[in-house]
Symmetry: C2
Subunit: 219 residues, 2 copies
């Protein structure tokens, strides 16, 4: 079997813009969380539940990034959080400049937490620093426990891995311990929570981590 | 709620290269099928089963495109089909030039069918014509029936939609008729098959379509 390397050069000036944005948000006391996952991993459902559980303690706003449609932003607004929908015009990721523009539209200077629901994709979003203080990824049980092998960059750039849809574990060949081992091998400091937005299992541990991260960002 | 348009310009010279490649493959009598889906939608498992069922009638070869790893190509070789693994070096799609290079390495001039398992992604692969004769996409039940709304280009550029993992329908809120309606609205001529690579349900109809497509390509 042959393996062919097809190389590309990735634009890099984005890193500087992202660091400037992160510094501004730090001074402002707003934690920006960049939430990344495949299409259909359950990003919006997880956000709905997280917002519901934390909205009395923190001022939360959401930026929904999508190639098209505004179904996600509408769902988030129903939960009582401010939301803005960013259309990427075909692009598969958000970069720091796009994130800055969306933040300006959101006008969330007073927010404790802004969540960027990135475009559904395990590849491109991992390559572009958005200026977020924390990167969080979701891997859902139906996607398979081999994904750290196939999308390593996503796992190395994430501070948190949420293994989601654990309510359907009985119906899939997904070994949590194998997935954890593979993710930790790529990124020993990654925090991992197994959750179900449907049943609520595991959500308290994730929300506790998030609360601590918001408080630490302001300190 | 505000909607922000973040535009980009997409390179277009790829279209001409793709058409040249498609014409060459037509003269050669090799049908190139571009298989696209999200990470974990079950592309490789579907291929394994399809190859097993059709390998006595057709000469089949496979190009596995991945950001990294060679787990998929190894799985395909175990099924007795020629396989080549293409690493995209971080890129989220295959274009016509990359496909040509991978075909040269595969050396599949005598093949009736070459399947390109594109990078796991519902966005970028839809934007780049690979030179394939047919575009086939998989949407798995756990991803949700709203995906035509969010990734419309993938549905408009596909000749076939395979709704996969139908064995887990009882455990997810996925309405097949709603998904079919949304896909047909975007692309009235799209062929749709509901399949399970696990139980084999629906596979015969998909393989019948594929056999007809191979025969028609040679005619």
């Amino acid at each position: 079997m042959k393996i062919i390397e097809l190389k590309e050069t990735i634009t890099a000036s984005n890193d500087r813009d992202a660091q400037v944005l992160r510094d501004e948000l730090k001074r402002q006391g707003t934690l920006l969380v960049n939430l990344m996952a495949s299409p259909g991993a359950g990003k919006t459902t997880l956000l709905e539940r997280t917002i519901q559980d934390l909205k009395d303690r923190y001022s939360i706003a959401v930026m929904e990034a999508d190639v098209d449609s505004d179904v996600d932003a509408k769902r988030i607004e129903l939960m009582g959080a401010r939301a803005v929908q960013a259309h990427t015009g075909g692009m598969c990721h958000m970069d720091a400049g796009m994130t800055r523009r969306a933040l300006e539209e959101l006008d969330a200077k007073d927010a404790d937490l802004v969540i960027l629901e990135n475009v559904g994709n395990l590849i491109c979003p991992a390559e572009f620093d958005t200026g977020a203080g924390k990167n969080v990824m979701i891997l859902s049980v139906p996607e398979g426990d081999d994904k750290p092998l196939k999308y390593p960059l996503m796992f190395t750039t994430s501070d948190v891995l949420l293994i989601s849809k654990i309510d359907v574990l009985p119906y899939f060949d997904f070994a949590i311990e194998k997935c954890v081992e593979r993710a930790k091998k790529l990124n020993p400091s990654i925090e991992i929570f197994a959750v179900s937005s449907k049943t609520g299992e595991g959500m308290a541990a994730w929300e506790n981590w998030l609360s601590n991260a918001i408080d630490a960002w302001k300190a």
